[in-house]
Amino acid sequence: MTILVIAEHENGAVAPATLNTVAAAAKIGGDIHVLVAGAGVGAVAEAAAKIAGVAKVLVADNAAYAHQLPENVAPLVAGLGAAYSHILAPATSNGKNILPRVAAQLDVDQISEIIAVESADTFKRPIYAGNAIATVQSSAAVKVITVRATGFDAVAAEGGSAAVEQVAAAHDAGKSSFVGEELAKSDRPELTAAKIVVSGGRGMQNGDNFKHLYALADKLGAAVGASRAAVDAGFVPNDMQVGQTGKIVAPQLYIAVGISGAIQHLAGMKDSKVIVAINKDEEAPIFQVADYGLVADLFEAIPELEKLV
């Protein structure tokens, strides 16, 4: 049994979600190969070779794979992946974009966002916004799976010494091209990898008031998230959204400020180790999942909290 893991990378570095995906592969068992596809990804391949538990790194370095366009990357993965027992990718926007295209090319069903490995062919995944957990068995010759990073503890980024092998294939389908991107700038930790997350909701009232959360987050070394209500109201950009349709986080500490706790939001954070809710409405559903609840006006509680931590 040999498993192919599709590496997620950005700015010449391996993204943390790749380490969680390798951890899921290790639970399945067998040799683990990592595919690094992109343009100018020599440094990424070297970094991938150092990941603990990786036996081989395949590098497809070609202009056709820049920006991870699925029309070009999916044929590469399907071509290489047909020889493997499993193909795994992190359930990031890239993984979700590319892998179903690979599965369809291989004529197999995909299993999305697994949170646990039961055996080499059986996996657990949340459905209905995390309100039910399904155990799914795959009889496919190649099992195509995306991995929810928060379901698996990351393997060490150092300690391995895998062989690096170039892959000659290049697919340019000529059907799509990259036009541009607009990335949100942030000095704080990445939301999905942060140990502490402070999130604001509609109760923040406006975007300017998020400065109180940023100040608290900086003191705690935390990332800042938001509910869909805060995003839709234009307080913050949508890549900060935590929930079923945004990012899934499972930090050590999640502080929900002015968030009522709709099921769509809970789907994105209820696996956090400790949940704190600060809300002036003591009937808010968020208090049903919070380990510690404080019924208070957030504009008084947050500055005080910032002073005390």
Binding site: S93, R101, A104, E113, V179, L220, N238, Q244, L305
Partner: protein
């Protein structure tokens, strides 16, 4: 141009679902069903393209039980011209649905196919991408902006770090993200008119598609419940608990 929109009948997003006692699935008996919220956004986008004079005809298609006609009628009331129901079991895999949609695409030859990015029941986020692979078309997933430019479509996509814009050759597949648009409500006169619009029913057999799946659901369980927490009285007490009891700061 002809636009094809796929819609799914799912449990209403406000319903708190319950797992069946025998762990065979979730209990959907007597539960309110609706159009998947991402599919509503897909219908809205198609209707806006028609209002701009870009789309000439909107065909809406659903794969599911005969009751999915309700959701097709809703789409017709919102502005779709005609509907196709592929009558099949309601628990088909994404690949089977993609194969059925591919057969419809082959027949209808749309220039643009719009789907939601994921259904809120299975949470798979696969069908659009699979349809793109099977038809050989380009895909613009998680779209927050769609602009037709000649024989291409520019799609701005919501990605992890922000936004990415790609240019796709038509025909193409687009899947909608939440911020693409704000879906409208159907007016009563339009609901009445929608009852007279054509709705064709076909079967997977007639389309020559096998719906066998390589996935099998063994059981469905309720997630582990969180133990009840406590309410603290002050910020000072909260900080004390986080430091000494939970030890997370």
């Amino acid at each position: 141009m002809k636009v094809l929109v796929a819609v799914k009948r799912v449990v209403d997003y406000n319903v708190k679902v319950r797992v069946k006692a025998d762990n065979s699935g979730v209990d959907l008996a007597n539960v309110k069903m609706s159009m998947n919220p991402f599919c509503e956004i897909a219908v809205e986008e198609a209707v806006r393209l028609k209002e701009k004079g870009v789309a000439t005809e909107i065909v809406v298609v659903s794969v599911g039980p005969s009751t999915a006609q309700e959701q097709l009628r809703t789409a017709l009331a919102l502005g779709a011209d005609r509907a196709i129901l592929v009558e099949a079991a309601d628990d088909l895999s994404s690949l089977a649905v993609a194969k059925l949609l591919k057969a419809v695409v082959d027949k209808e030859q749309p220039q643009l196919v719009i789907l939601g990015k994921q259904a809120i029941d299975s949470d798979n986020n696969q069908t659009g991408q699979m349809l793109a692979a099977l038809s050989g078309y380009a895909q613009g997933t998680f779209a927050s902006k769609v602009e037709i430019a000649g024989d291409k479509v520019n799609v701005t996509r919501e990605v992890d770090g922000g936004l990415q814009t790609v240019s796709l050759a038509l025909p193409a597949i687009v899947t909608t993200d939440l911020r693409l648009n704000e879906p409208r409500y159907a007016s009563l006169p339009n609901i009445m008119k929608a009852k007279k619009k054509p709705l064709e029913t076909v079967t997977p057999e007639a389309l020559g598609v096998s719906t066998a799946s390589t996935n099998k659901t063994l059981k469905v369980e309720a997630p582990a419940a969180r133990s009840a927490g406590i309410k603290v009285k002050s910020v000072a007490e909260l900080v004390e608990k986080l430091k000494n009891e939970a030890k997370v700061i």
